[in-house]
């Protein structure tokens, strides 16, 4: 398949960023087999993630944006090794995570944390908040018994809760409060990278802003690196330094937040932007670009550019040849990128 972007292009894309990357994702693929028949023969694959290349630099927030089913959550879980990739590498501080032994991986996991979308299923209902937060410290022997309570109290304070919440069970909290507990749990091990898997999309709009503010504060305070996953550009604009737009398991455009918003180059990015609500009614009389049709089946993606079935600008070459991610800094995978 010609879809795999060469590493050279990728390096160029990241050229403006300084320093060595914290995480390098190389040709990441995650295929799920489709089984059929009496003997459960594999007849095909759902290509949830199909050849991703990008780097994450220390201290930045990079966002993955796309419709549901585009593979963004799968990518996040593959990077923190919750769902090991089918192919490709995730290199963290120079170490290829797929080559680590179970013990080595477990020792390294504290540095790669994840916050989940659903604050109701992400906390064990049978454990008190204090125990939920103390357990990681005790498992990794990062604190002895006398320190644990103090550290738990500190972290609760940091995420905007109080030490009085220590003895309560998760079901006694609201969605926003639960998400704060989830953040505290990810934070308590001093991670380098936190994958935020749609951390606010299950919350009320007013609460969303609070949680996003909290995440941003924490990033400054603890020099965190975020991989932020969202399906709309709204939440992402405020928090990200760079944005990668995904479609059907591939990155179609990658650039800084400013570049993506001011100068979107992929037709799909433009469509996503036009779906983004404008609060000022005087500015609303713009032409909306409405996307037609449904997302194609990822088990049987279209030939050529996977977006050509819905693209208003598609030409014959789009049906034949898969475009590579091109350009330096601001990269786009399109035969006819917008200027």
């Amino acid at each position: 398949m010609s879809s795999t972007t060469s590493l050279e292009t990728d390096r160029k894309a990241d050229a403006p960023r300084q320093g060595t990357p914290l995480i390098e994702v190389q040709n990441l693929k995650k295929y799920y087999p489709i089984k059929k028949g009496i003997l459960s023969k594999t007849v095909g694959h759902v290509k949830a993630v199909d050849g991703l290349n990008f780097s994450i630099y220390p201290g930045e927030t990079i966002s993955l944006v796309g419709e549901s089913g585009c593979g963004k959550s799968t990518t996040g879980q593959a990077i923190v090794q919750l769902d090991p990739p089918t192919e490709g590498k995730v290199i963290f501080q120079g170490r290829d995570l797929s080559t680590l032994s179970n013990t080595e991986l477990r020792q390294l996991r504290p540095q790669l944390q994840i916050i989940f979308q659903d604050p109701y299923s992400s906390l064990n209902p049978r454990k008190r908040v204090g125990d939920l937060l103390a357990e990681p410290l005790l498992v990794h022997k990062l604190a002895d018994k006398s320190e644990v309570t103090r550290k738990v109290d500190d972290i609760l304070e940091i995420v905007g809760l109080t030490k009085h919440h220590r003895n309560h069970y998760p079901h006694e909290f609201s969605g926003g409060q639960r998400q704060r507990i989830g953040i505290a749990r990810a934070l308590i091990l001093n991670p380098k990278l936190i994958v935020c898997d749609e951390p606010v999309s299950a919350l009320d709009v007013s609460i969303q802003a609070q949680v996003l503010n909290l995440l941003k504060d924490l990033q400054q305070k603890f020099q965190l690196t975020y991989l932020f996953i969202a399906h709309g550009l709204g939440a992402v604009k405020y928090i990200s330094d760079r944005i990668a737009v995904m479609y059907l398991g591939k990155i179609v455009e990658l650039g800084t937040t400013e570049e993506i918003f001011k100068n979107p180059r992929h037709p799909y990015t433009q469509i996503l932007l036009s779906a983004y609500p404008v609060p000022n009614p005087h500015l609303r009389n713009r032409n909306r670009v409405v996307v037609e049709g449904d997302v194609p089946n990822p088990a049987n993606p279209p030939k050529g550019c996977s977006f050509h079935t819905r693209c208003p600008l598609a030409q014959s070459i789009c049906r034949e040849k898969t475009p590579d991610l091109m350009g330096s800094g601001h990269t786009v995978a399109c035969h006819f990128p917008l200027a």
């Binding site: 089984k35 009496i38 459960s40």
Partner: protein
Amino acid sequence: MFQYIVRRILIALPVLFGVTIFSFLIVNMAPGNPVEMQINPDATAADIALKKEALGLNDPLYVQYVRWLSGILHGNFGFSFSTHQAVTGMISDRIGPTLLLMGTAIIIAYLIAIPIGILSATRQYSWMDYLSTSFSFLGISIPHFFLGLGAIYVFSIVFQIFPTGGMNTLGGTGGFADTFNHLILPALVLGTGIAGSMVRYVRSSVLEILGQDYLRTARSKGLKEFFVINKHALRNALIPIITVIGMDIPLLIGGAVVTEQIFQWPGLGQLTIQSIGSRDYPTLMAMNLMAAVAVLLSNLITDVLYSVADPRIKYN
């Protein structure tokens, strides 16, 4: 669907294989062997060794297993320790009465459980419902032997309506009416026990169907409640109800052992108890193996019937 059935059979095969291994191991674990049981007490140690060699008892275990299995496939379950007859023959003499008893018990269980279960589901939380729940708990909780003894005491001793046991009157001419007279009490005891768990099942499957939207539609069309229940609800609840017996087969077999013993019913259950008494392991394991195969088959048939009857069942 065909694929589902084939796959279901393919899963059953290793289980069947496991069942034979387990049976074989138990027979081998049992004290005594065919040689010690068959030859006369005066035989010398040398004679026994010779006979053992001839019967292949010194071969490795897996060789013995293969020989035992191929015998079974040819209908040869070995010889009884106690009567020295072929086990196959002993079982075929006894299987008729057991099937008659179980069949009647199943019919009785359905006759009790279906109406009670439906009534208690359609009148949920009424006194009928509480009564049927109590009945079902009583049925689940009462041991077959206590129910059997009670039934004999009331119906055979106090009121003298039915005979206390056996399958035919001793010295009588037999005949269908006589057998039927002997059959009622044990079948009733066995059937009531099964009915207890069945009532709960019928009730919950009817309740589930009654909660469906299409029944509300039927009601909103103005159909009389009688038609709603009989034409729409019952038809759909019938599949799980009919197939529930598949799950109860092991229970039925265990119940039959006790019931046959109490009523002196000359079936496999009584043979089981007699064989236990005489430590006749070949006969016992032949019956166990057969029962296990019967359970396996009934589960298979239940699943297949289900998939034929209910188009919503997923085939993978």
